[in-house]
Every structure is written in C-alpha cells, then in structure tokens.
C-alpha cells in the first residue's frame, strides 16, 4: 500500500523536513565512500604504470629486487656494496678509530667554551696538534682508493682543516681536504681559508680541483624513471594504503586507521612532479616545489573522502622528512651557493697571486678562466664583492675578527694594500687580506661592485 497516497501537503512537508537532512548526510557519506574507492583505484593504476607487478606485490622480496634491477638496469649506487668484506671491515675500523679522535676534539671544544665563560686563557693548539698528528698517522695507511669510502663525520675533517689553516700549514690543510669528496667538502671553511694570505699558486690550484665539481645536475643525470622510483619506492606501502605513517599531532601520535586516498594520491602526485623538477637548488626549482606544495594541500582539503578518516581531517604532516619538501630544495640551494662562494673565493685569491692584486670586479675573474656567471641561476643567494683600502679596514670590517673567528696576527691585520670583501652564500662574508705589503693606497678610493 502506498503510504504517500494518504498524505497531504502538510504531511509531506514535515516528512521532508525530517528525512531530507538525513538523506543528504547519508548521500554525502556515500559520495565520500565512492571517492575513496575511485581514488584508491587511481593510485593503483599510477603505481602499476611505474613499478613492475612483482615489486608491487612484495616489494621486499628478492624477485622484486631483481625485477627492478632488470627493468632499469640499476647498478649498485651504494659504494660500500662494491667493496669486499675485508675492505669493508677495514673501512669500519678506520671510521671507528676516527670517531675516537672526534670524542677528544669535542672535549677540547667544550674546554674552549669553558675558557670563554671563565674569561681565562686556554690554548688548545698543542692538544689539537697531537690529535691530528695521530689521525694523520692512522690515515697514512689508508689507500686513496679506500679513503673515498670513509664516511666518518665530515665535521671532524672540517675542524682539522681549519686548524691547519690557522697554523699556516696550508699543505697539510690540502691533505685533509683530499680525504673528503663531493658534498662533504667543507666549502665554507675553504672560502674563509682564502681570506688568509700565504697560499702558493700551486696550492690554490690543487684546492680548486678538489672543490670544483659540476653544478647540481645530479638530478638530471638520473633517468626520470629512476628518480620516480627512488622517491616513491621507499614509501610504497604507505601509498598503497597498507600502512600509516606516524604523524606528529598534539593529541594523536599514530593512527591505526586508514588514510584517505585523496591524501595519498595528492602526495603521490607531488612526489612524482617533484622528481621531474630539474636544476634542483635554483630559484625556479624552489618556486615550483612551493606551487606543488600548495596544490597538494588544496587537493587534500578538497577531498571528500577525508571526512571518513579517523580521527582527524589532517592525517599527515606534509613536512615529514619522508616527503620531498621545499626544505630539501632550499638546502640544496644553500649548498650550491656555498660552493659557488668557495669557488669564487678561490678564484679571487688565485687572481691576486697571478696578477698581484685583487680584481676590481668579479667579471675580471674571467681573465684567469673563472666564469662567474656559470651556474648563477642555480644558487639563490647572490654574491657581492668590493675592494677597499687597508686604512678603511676598521670601517669595513670593524673590530670583529677575520677568518676563522680568531684574531689575525697583528702583522696581517695591519697589512697595507687593497683588501677584498666577498659576501653572499648562506650568510658568509670573506675578507681577503693582501698577500704582500704594498704601498699605501689613496684613502678615499674604495672600489665598488
């Protein structure tokens, strides 16, 4: 029997008043569930387009590993995989031995800080000399081929390098640099080291070779397929919805409940798009990743299926280290700009050694073969350079120390001639002390860039 036949308008109105909100709510939930299924399927399709089936089913199985290697002709990029067991053990021992030196260095650093607090004189130089002498003895037995695999704390070598430069032992300082390769090179320390005169041209050219490596095109040298794999493979179970990441939230540290596919799909799209960005570290790359970030947030917020998450709408922190973020690009930009600073500082000192004085402008560095404008777009921090006469040193530098935060010797601090100032990178300024005493320059002739 059709009940509606027995209703009048008033009945229908009140029934509608009561039923409509309930039906709308149920409809909303049904729509959210539908979107959940649909986006889950979309994620699966996307992943199937990237990874072989064996990898998707069991990413940690041997078959998956073989399938990946075959598909992308992967070679082990972990350097330690190429070493024999014996060499690996030897490298481990060396790393641990160096770590023991680091403990001693850390202790001396703390004593130096105590000396400042107590306002007492404390010269740690003999102790540092002893530590680094023993470290050098240890490393003398390490072949150059093995040395590149040592992953001991770069900060230990950086501190060692700075110590040798302070003591004026430039040759030893170059030996220390040679233990570090690529991104571990302490480029800021190298840049500051150029402020101190006494280098020979040969030494400068050696450092130039050690520091000068191609700009950050590492991203481009990796095939796009591989880049996508690297960024997504390690998070595969999360994208598939098989696991939940811990997310930092004041009320809930972890959730055993599934994360909505809108969230996973938005992050997946962001990761894939981020892997396509070239020239990582350039201003444009940072702009692009910011746009991707915004688009990702909008996609997540507009996802209806997030209503079905438990317990919160926000289920993931986009700034987790697991995900590619702006910080990664900014860090790369800083690294590149520091490298550029170091390369420029080396070129300036080299120019002075070859031509007898610092350049008036950075463009003059091209006369010694240094292209200042190379890779400029890659670093977002601009460099600036100026020359100023020695009698304006106090005005330009002030009473602050120069070089490695230690006082220059009075002889160097009062050296006459033209000084140089190179600024930029990530908040670093290098003041170049002239190599030899010169005539007193005119007092009001500072050269500006």
């Amino acid at each position: 029997m059709n009940t509606m036949l027995f209703t009048n308008d008033r009945d229908r109105v009140w029934l509608a008043v009561v039923l409509a909100p309930v039906m709308l709510l149920v409809g909303f939930i049904a729509l959210a569930e539908f979107q959940w299924s649909r986006k889950d399927a979309e994620i699966d399709r996307k992943l199937q387009g990237i990874f072989p089936a064996a990898f998707l089913d069991a990413p940690y199985s041997d078959a998956a590993g073989e399938a990946l290697k075959t598909m992308f002709d992967l070679k082990p990029n972990n350097t330690q995989e190429t070493l024999s067991e014996t060499n690996l053990a030897k490298i481990n021992r060396i790393e641990f031995a160096l770590a023991s030196f680091r403990n001693e260095v850390d202790h001396l650093n703390s004593l130096e800080n105590d000396a400042v607090s107590l306002s007492v004189e404390f010269d740690p130089t003999p102790f540092y000399d002893d530590i680094y002498r023993r470290a050098k003895t240890l490393l003398e037995n390490v072949s150059a081929a093995d040395a590149i695999y040592i992953a001991a704390a770069p900060s230990f070598f950086e501190h060692w390098f700075e110590h040798e430069v302070r003591q004026g032992r430039f040759a030893d300082a170059i030996d220390v640099i040679s233990y570090l390769q690529g991104p571990s090179t302490p480029v800021v320390s190298v840049a500051k080291a150029m402020s101190i005169p006494g280098w020979t041209l040969e030494q400068i050219e050696t450092i130039e070779r050690l520091v000068n490596h191609p700009a950050a095109t590492q991203n481009e040298s990796i095939p796009p397929e591989l880049r996508r794999i690297e960024t997504v493979a390690r998070l595969l179970p999360w994208f598939q919805g098989k696991t939940t990441l811990l997310y930092r939230n004041r009320y809930y540290q972890s959730s055993p409940f599934p994360i909505a596919p809108s969230v996973r799909l938005a992050v997946l799209n962001r990761e894939l798009a981020a892997a396509e960005i070239n020239n990582v570290g350039s201003v444009n790359s940072i702009k692009k990743i910011r746009k991707l970030d915004l688009a990702c947030r909008e996609a997540i917020d507009s996802g209806i299926d997030t209503a079905l998450q438990i317990p919160l709408y926000k289920s993931v922190n986009l700034y987790e280290s697991a995900f590619t973020g702006e910080d990664d690009f900014v860090l790369q930009a800083r690294q590149l700009s520091d490298e550029r600073l170091a390369q420029t500082a080396i070129a300036i000192r080299k120019f002075e050694l070859m031509k007898g004085e610092f350049p008036a402008r950075l463009e003059e560095l091209s006369t010694i073969g240094f292209n200042f404008y190379r890779d400029q777009e890659l670093a977002s921090y601009n460099l600036f350079y100026q020359k100023f006469p020695s009698d304006q040193r106090r005005e330009w530098i002030g009473d602050d120390s120069v070089g490695f935060d230690t006082e220059l010797s009075p002889e160097l601090a009062n050296r006459k001639g033209w000084w140089g100032m190179l600024g930029g990178g990530h908040d670093t300024t290098v003041y170049f002390c002239p190599s030899g005493a010169a005539e007193e320059p005119p007092s009001d002739q500072a050269t500006e860039e």
């Binding site: 009940t3 027995f6 209703t7 009048n8 008033r10 009945d11 009140w14 029934l15 008043v17 009561v18 039923l19 909100p21 309930v22 709308l24 709510l25 909303f28 940690y60 067991e85 014996t86 690996l88 053990a89 481990n92 060396i94 641990f96 031995a97 770590a99 023991s100 030196f101 403990n103 001693e104 202790h107 004593l111 105590d114 000396a115 107590l118 007492v120 404390f122 102790f127 023993r134 003895t137 240890l138 037995n141 939230n249 004041r250 009320y251 540290q253 972890s254 959730s255 055993p256 997540i300 917020d301 997030t306 209503a307 079905l308 998450q309 438990i310 317990p311 919160l312 709408y313 926000k314």
Partner: protein, 815 residues
Amino acid sequence: MATQVTTAEATIRTNHEPSSTAWFWWKESRQLAPLLVMLVAVAFLALFFDLIGSSLWNFQVPHEALLLAIPGLFATGAGPLLVGQERSTRTIEWLTLLPVSPSRLAITKLLVSLVGLVVIWMFSLLLLAVTGDGSSKWSTLNPNDLLYDQQSILVWLIHSLFVLLVGFYVSWRIENQFYALLLLIGIAFSPFIAVSVTSGLLSRALLAKESGILSLIFTAIGVAVMFPLSLRAAARTLGAKPAPSLNGFEVSRSSVAAATVPEFNTQTAPVIWQSFHSAKGTWMVISVMLLVGCLGTMSTPEFGVDILSNNWLPLFVLLFAVATSWIGVCVFKHDGAAERLRFLADRGVSWKRTYLALHGFPIAMVSTLLLLFALFNLKIDHFNYDAASGMPSLLTMMFFVVTAYSVSQWASQIFRTLILSVIIAPILAWTTVGWLSSAIAMCGVPVWCVVVCALTPMLASFVMMKHYMDGRDRPWTFAVGAAAVAIIIGLPIFTMYRRIQAIPGMTPSQRTALLNEARKARSQNLRSVFVALSYSGRYSDQTMLLNAEQLIDSAKSYRYEPQVIVAPLTTQSGEPVRPAYCDSAFQFWYENFSLSQLTWESNPETWPDYAVFLDSSVTLLRSLRADHHYWSQEYADRLEIMLLDALSQEAIRAKRDSETVQKVVRSIGTPQSRAKARREAVLAQWAEAVMDPDDPSAFNFYGYFPENASGLAAWAEPRVDEAIVLALLDGIEAAKTHSASTGWLHDLHELITPTIPFEESQYGPAWRKQPVLQILTYQSRFAPGMFMGRDWEYVDPNALLVNESTVSPNADEQE
C-alpha cells in the same frame, strides 16, 4: 455579637491550619530524593572513571572541581525540581487550596532543599577528604598550588546557597521549566560578573585574595536580595489569583487559534509537528547555543592546541556539548510530552511509529549539524597551525554527537522530570563519550564495539517505548537501563580482556618451571659491579672547572684507559669472576679498541698498549658473561665479535703464542657456554620483574604495544614479556644447535618491531646478512637477540690464528 463570631471564626480557622507540616516535609523530601540520589551516583561514577583513568592512562580528574560541582548541580536543580514538578503535574492549584499559608509552603520547600544542600555538601566534603585532591593542578585547596585560595571553599558554600535561592525565584516566576533553568544559569554567574566589572572599574586585575573576598561579598549580597524575592514570587504564585476577564478579543483569539490547528492525514507527521511546535522556543535556544558554540570554537585560533590556554574556548565547547545533549533530551521531555504520549497510547497509535516520529526532528537537526560541519571542512585549510589542523573528521564528530544524543534521549526517557534530565543527561552523555573515546584511542577497542555501545541506549529506549507510552515502564526501565550500562561498560572491557589474552604468554606450568629455574640461577650469582665505559679523567664534571690550570689538566687527563675502567673487575687467581653490567657507551670501547688495533698494526712497537686493551677486553667479557642482566649478554656478544675480528687479522698471528692472545682465545665462548649464560640472564632478569614489578630497572625489552592500546600496557606488559622470554629462549636454543629455524626471529619481530615489514627489520634476512662489524655499535636499531645464531658464533678462534684461509667473523649467511 460580631466580635464573638469573629473570635469564633478566627479560632476555627486557627484550629484548622495545621500546626505541623511534617507531611509536607515528607512530600518535598520524596520529591527531592531522586536528585540527591542521582547526584550521589554521578559522583561515584565520576570517581570510578577517575580510577580507571589514573590506573590506565595516568590521567586524574581534579577531585575538587568534580566533587564541589556536585552541590552546585544540586542547588541548580532543587528549586526547579520542587516548583517545576508542581507545575508539570498541575499541583500548584492544589497547593493553593491547602490550609497552609503560601509563605509557609515556600519556606518549607526552601528548608527541605536547604537540608538537602547541607547533606550533599557533607557528602562531597567527606568524599574529598577520603579521596584526596586528585590532580593538584587545579586545586584551590592545596596550599602548595598556585590557585590556592583560602576563601574559595566559603565562596563555593555561599554561592551554592545563592544558586538555590535563584532557582526557587526563577521557578516561581517562570512557568516554562527550561526557560527558568536558562535564566537561573545566567543569574548564577552574576556575582562573578560583578567581580569582573569591579576589576574593570579599577582598571587592574585583582589579586586572588581580593577576587575571593569580592566574590564572597557579592554572593552574600545576592543571597540577601534573592531570599525575599523568592518568597515574594512564591506568594504571588501560590496566592489567590484575580478572576480572568473575558473580552471579545480573547474569545475571538481562542476561536482563531482553534481554527488554525493543522490537519494531517498520517499519524507520524503530526507527532513530528507537535514535537517541534510545542518547544519552538527550546529549539531556538538550542540552535543559538549550537551556533555560538560552533562559531566561537572555529574562530578560536588555539583550538586543538591547549584547550585551557584560551579563556573562552572551554565555554564555547561546553555550549556545544550541552546543546547537543539537550537535543536528545527534547525527544521525550518537551512540554506536555508525557500527556501527549499517553493520549496517543490511548488512541492506539503504534508505539514504533511514535518512537520514530519523536526522533524525527531531533535527528534531522543532528544530521543538519553534521552536514554543515562536513561542508565547512571542505572549505578550510587543514594545514594551517590553528584550529583547523586539529579538526575531528566527520566520522569522529558523528560518533561524538550520536553517542551524546543516544545517551541523552535515553536519560530523558528514564528521568521523570525535565530538570533532572536537563542536568543529568549532559553529564552522562559526555562521560560516555569520554569513556568510549578513551576505549578506542587508548585501549584498542575495535570500532564495531564502540558503535554497539553508542547505539545501545537507542535500543534500550526503543525496547521500553511501549511501556513508557502506557506509563508502566517502572521498574522495567531500570532493569533495561542496568543492562545497557553493563553493555556500555562491560563490552569494551571484554574486548580489552580478549586482546590481552590473545598475546601468547606462558602456560602456568611453564611459568612455574621457568621461575624455579631462574631462582636457582640467581641464588648462585654474586653481586654485580657497575662499569661505566666512558672516558676517564679528572674533572668529568665540567662544572668543577674554575681556572686555566684545571682546564689544561682536564685536557691532559682526557684519555680512554680500559685498564682503569675494568679495575674493579680484576680478581686474584682462583677467585670467581665478578659479574658486571655496563652503561650503553659501548661504542667508546670499540672506537678506542679500533684505534689501538690500527695503531699497533702500523707501529708494532705499540704492542704493549694494544695488549692492555686486549687484556681489558677479556676481563670485561668474562664479567659480562657472568652477569645476570640480559643486556650484559648483548654487550658480551659484541665484545666477542670484536675480539674474533682482532684474531682474524693477519698481523696478530705473529703474536699467537703470547699470553695475551692466548687469553683472548680462551675467553671466546662456545655456542653451549653462551647459551647457558644467555638463558640464565634472560630468566633471572624476567624473574626479577615478576617478583618486583615496580622496579624500573627490571626486565624491559621494549616489547611493542600499539600506541592506541597504550592504556592496556600495564596489563599486557607481563604477557608481552613472557612472550619475548619464550622467543628468546627459542633463539638461544637455535643458536646453540646452529639450527636453521627462523620461527623465533618472526616471533621477536612481531613482539618488538612489528611496525616495519619483517624483511626490513633487524630480524629479517637483509639485516642478518649485513656484516656484524658494520652494525656492532648501532644504537638506534638495537634489538635483543639480533646477533644470536649468526656465523660468528661458530668460528673457532684457534683456527683464525693458524689457518691461512680463515672464516672471518664478518662472513655470514650468504646467498
């Protein structure tokens, strides 16, 4: 003559006015008793949940706020109950006909409620004295707390009296009980508003003491004002009323009113219409409360951060919570609801249809609320660091609202009076929400269980609907209610119990046998010595450095001296080995050992230094193996690996006949000796935890327990520990026999590292293929038993010294 008649009449009237109103006292006491009993029950219920909260989750309710709020609730409800009940049962007119003066009636009601207030105050204070102040964070009674205020208890007392008088006043003045209650809440805050105004006039914040004194003064003034006002209101209500005058306008108005009664064709729609129409004002008030609560909460930037850091946020949330609960109360408790239901029952209207119809409008309101919430969340950015980042999802909000609604509508069916429902329902509803939320968030209760518990009150009210309509729901409603409470509390507890029982612990016989074995092993053990594997040197406490000489001295003396570290372990020949346990600074030992080893290999003249290190390592190894802390065995494994690696180097073969190297060879254990030491250590440490569970240094293998079930950790830990012990014993046995079984690895993975896939865990094949030397000092991926059963255990140290093609301890399971 007239005088005599007057005197006789006065005598007759005087003789007829009862000298005692004891029967009235009894009547009023009976009327007030349910409120008293319910509040006592609420107090015990709150303490019960406090007990659960503190034992499960180390969360305590501030007893003072809880127990001193009970008299406040009584004071709020007493007047509306005693007067409002008369109105709803139409007994006001009967009271006016009694040969008792209105003032005496009013004063009797007041006195009865006053006695009730005293009783509830005594109860609360007694309970507070017995249970302590719970969380002292909020305490105004604890002299050590910042909120301590000597006048606070007096202010509470006087304020409750003030609220009681206001309750009577508004109830006598206003017919609608709901509006009366709202007005009461508003006036109740007036003394504190006056204090704030005073502070504003003085243009400065008041000290706690000043605020307390002013509160006391304003409240006392309030009492003095409200007392005569309430009596006057009572007199007006109970006194003779002027006869109503009929005029044409009123007649026509009533006719018009009669003519506009809507007509319906169905039985359901009019019930829906009636439930809305009869309480339009109530729905309006609830809607405003919801609107203010929601908008206020959304606009507060600190939402989701620290709810107490914002003064207004608790108020907005409270408004929303109470309004949601009152939606449920309005199902069975709008004006005239009982009579209407009786009317429908007498006319044979289906009770099921009535039930659905009564829920129609409230559920529509709840659905609208949730829908608006869902649509609102489509528009906001959940990644800003403000309110939106902590926004509960639609499902979560639905759970909160539906549970509160479900319990509230059930409470409104159980309690006869509106006032009781309005006061008690929000407390019961949100206590239930809190209980179920905690159950799912901290005790791992499954979603289906929580949903069943949330809907149980709906089922209970549905089951009782027929009897309720017939007015014959007592005493069955209490039986059904008890069953519902049993389900809401018992079902989650049952699932928690099942969850804990599902952990594979020991059987009783296993436990007994292993404990006996542990006791026997412990009885043979000497007292352990603690060894710190850190750098030695003077001025290890750098706060003692005061001058340059001391700095230099500290620099010179900062050395790693293994012989100094193990000095307490040295024994004479024939003496038993001294057991030792160490700190977690093993990486210092290995770093300096490596340095010593490499230094000697490049400069053979440094052999004496290296020999000291080898010798000290042997001493340390023996003492760690003899110790009954399990972690000592783990460090002993690492030391053996380190020494085996040293023996495998070609350079040491030249020294193979030296006493030092022979000592090293003899110190290397066999699979059998290691198994014995490990087994004793595992059992001894576990037994210590069983016998002294409060000892923080006892057995702790950091067995994993999911964070959403962390509330059960206290109960689950013993079973998890037992399961880990069994798995470790299996692993020890497998290592001893060089078995290829991996069941114990899977078991340990499930118990300790289940959050990552087995293939990636420290027990998985990939990790176990890594050279042991490479992972020797890894702290962050430390997992018990990760070195057990690997190939280093089966290396013959003598063979390392003599055999050219040796098996390095680093070589391991290869493909």
